[in-house]
Point group: D3
Chain length 213, copies 6
């Protein structure tokens, strides 16, 4: 048993698609999503730092890069399951945690177990870095849903995902990086020319207004 | 709310891959797998009928066709999760059952709810048809793993899947259809020319011998 | 020679695409289409049964599941060939029939030949089950063309396919299941939000009006 | 009606796969195959010219480039249909010819109809260029089958295709380009390192010996 | 060393996509593009010939078929690099030329080296055939960009590509084939029903008007 | 101009394949490769840290995550171009550098330009983190080539890539992380069961022996 097992498993994440059955125009693998979230988190970290906050960059990169590795075990089932109750989501999280613990115990050499317990655990905690991860994860999901809407896919599930992503981002509206995103990035995204632009702008404004209150 | 929701969802099953991260040479969608299992069950039903047993064909087709629809909710996570304990598997089954109940209640018109509760419930019961489904599901999985082994994919996970499929089939070795499969179908499959043939024949014979005792 | 040949061939149907060169956004394999048609037929059968008609379920599932297996031999060339005359279509049907007879004679063990001659023969006969198959096959094609139109694909071929599917369904407008489909399913489908909605509703209403007469 | 229809249809040939259900490791579109056959024919033409024969290059390129356009109508069903009799193949060829004639009449402006009747007609005639096309078509098919065999795909269908391709090439063994191919190209192909090399060399030698007689 | 290396390399062109990262709805391989450009050039040559000009058909086919083979070495990086200056483009062209010379020296048998130096060199010279190639290459690119625009992809890069393609075609507006294309083909293309039709017609008319002057 | 442009461009890296035309069994996008290299670098950093060296984690993650972003401009042409001379490689590097500078100037807001000049510049410098990146990049390439060899792809290019990757890794053999990789990871990889195992072990041992001297 050694790290070869773990290194080879990275390639599996290239073949696991996010939200299988949902995205129609562009598939996103868990590996590619992890890359994008780390890139987004890096940018959000820049903003926080320029706003005078101290960023623990090691923690930020580590959280972003590893936050979805455990989808190898249980798949990407959490986001779009609209029939799940909070209790069911809690049960699924417990299952995932147990599978991860079993994996670390069986496949990771002892000298690295503590590091991977931290890396494969829940990264979205109350630290600045955990909050940036929460935002970055939803920024990428917002871009993914936008990619479908912009290309003319009218299935309402993408508007649902866009709304839910933005709503979650807005929960962190006191953060400098969220304010920058809302002021300097999102308007640029929405200024592109696509058929559902007006509807999406209206939805965005509604959410922003609600968040004001 | 009506059956349009259900009919449109069938197309999602075309884009959900079985065992994501595992199959490398040939991807199998849940829709295609369901088709193949129904075809295999139909053939196994022929054998049972010719052996003098009464087959409830409606039940057999219904079970085979619908047995994996619920993977829409929770994904195809049960087969290859080697880090799962029996308790975790039980928890996952409970989650799946609850999601299914929520789906039927929310999306299926009342006049069809009883039919879909039956169709989307556990089909692998103790009836002849339930047992044929158990065998047919594993026959297709055995063919899927064989497709990778035959094409020269040496990753041990396919041999594991082949072994586990055959072992499950052998639990039903008293059935006429399993005896036909072991005597007239499996040897033909293994007589093909491929590099790991000897190893697979040896593994097969070991399992068959153990099942004799 | 035995059933192994047939069972292995099922996997070929996973890699044969329907209407190659036509669908641009979503490819549909023959295997997945067969699954969907069987699911649609099952639902239409429910409606017929609730309307008081006796459904031979074995025959219905058998017809639906196997109706396109012979595309292995001659490909999916019949639907979109707009340059074909009736004579050419007849010739193609004859070729297909002969290829199927040769296949059954060469590849299916004698004890199953009668069953597969029935299964791989023309299923769209005048029985209730044959008529349900005719409708179910077009319902899935209608959904497939809708999937392209809804996603913004403006190539007129999809409107042609939608029109032709609906026109064929309307030939069976005296059936309870068609009446249910027209009254409770189709309006829900068309109520979705997509850019060509008005045009498709107008086309649908024109066809429905013509069928009234 | 004008040439726009024809020019847009070229893109359809990018999405029609050759021998659907057969190739497992590498899919080949009709467009890509047409490109490769034209490249092979160009090389074979070089050899013929260097051997002192006069090549009608316009005819050679025209034949090679256009020889499979009509697969748009009837699909790629001729090569691997092992259940077809000569009569059935003849019937299929007749159907294809009629569909092509209908297409030219309906879609090609009158001033170009003669050119496209020639281009979309049977190119494999008794001229030097027609013979080079016959060889080039099979050289590409031989490479396509080799691509599967070399990568370890043991399904016997590829050996069948390799054998049939080489046997057809050998029917033209009196041609300078075939002699060059057999002496200077094929041995280099077979000298590559792959697991079934010995078997393929033996098969090749057997066919070459038979052709000697 | 012999032609086997070259013939096997043709298959690589099936897996190299044009403008990677740009096309979202339809991927185009270099092999398929080469086929389409040769087909377009063939049609444009027809028009030139009917207009009384002498076409060197061998040269035309040869130029069109081989014009992008060298993308094997350097990839398809020239078209969409909007950050490139003329100096950088010149440097890239020099690199490509050197790689091609090295390839011909190392992989092509001496007796064919002159032919391939001509075929893999720059085809877009001042001859009639070189000019037809310049037009044909852009006609296919225009169709490729139209394929995205028509399907509702609003990313401005496709309008940019459409504009740049048409602008290049218009540089050859004195040619009979360009006049035919502008008068009889392009209006038919734009008359199709798609959401951005008005915008694309306006853009087209602006470019045509500018070219008048 | 703002960061939206950059964030949207991340999705392009999901559709740019590495070494187009080379990998046959598994395609690797630039996005997925960047994720994997960052994961490998993280693990190699663990080893260095446990060996008592100070790792600048921010720099290590930053280098690994961003090291191939510039492939957006010039494609992945450096690794496999066997016809390139050192001068050509130098010219290509200069082109890439200029394109990157143009991109940063045109697309990145001024307040972030310094950060992205550092991130998109050459990361493989003489620092510990630069050296870890050099190793991690080749470890992932070694795994990618192994993925093809293990699955039975006999094309010599993969052995070439494996050899070149290992040879580069061995240039850093004095590093603790390389020693761990050679002693505890590589043997585990090679102990898997695949047909070319002996050849690959021999090649590996030859390279290791040469590195000893």
């Amino acid at each position: 048993m050694g790290m070869n097992q773990f290194l080879q498993s990275l390639s599996d994440l290239e073949t696991i698609n996010r939200a299988p059955g949902y995205f129609k125009f562009e598939q996103h693998s868990v590996a590619a999503h992890s890359f994008k979230v780390a890139e987004v988190a890096q940018f959000l970290g820049d903003v926080e730092e320029q706003a005078g906050h101290t960023v623990n960059w090691r923690s930020l990169y580590e959280k972003a890069l590893n936050h979805d590795y455990t989808e190898r075990f249980i798949g990407d089932i959490k986001t779009p399951v609209k029939y799940a109750t909070p209790e069911l989501r809690k049960m699924l999280a417990d299952v995932e945690e147990s599978l991860t613990a079993n994996f670390i115990h069986n496949e990771i050499p002892e000298q690295f177990q503590a590091a991977y317990a931290r890396r494969l655990g829940e990264g979205k905690d109350d630290t600045l870095e955990g909050q940036i991860l929460s935002v970055a994860d939803k920024v990428d999901l917002l871009y993914e849903s936008f990619g479908e809407i912009q290309k003319g896919n009218p299935e309402p599930v993408y508007t649902d995902i866009y709304r839910e992503s933005l709503a979650t981002i807005l929960k962190f509206k006191q953060m400098a990086c969220v304010q920058y995103f809302l002021r300097d990035v999102l308007p640029e995204l929405l200024s592109a020319d696509f058929s559902d632009r007006q509807k999406l702008e209206a939805l965005t404004n509604t959410l922003l207004d609600q968040a004001e209150d």
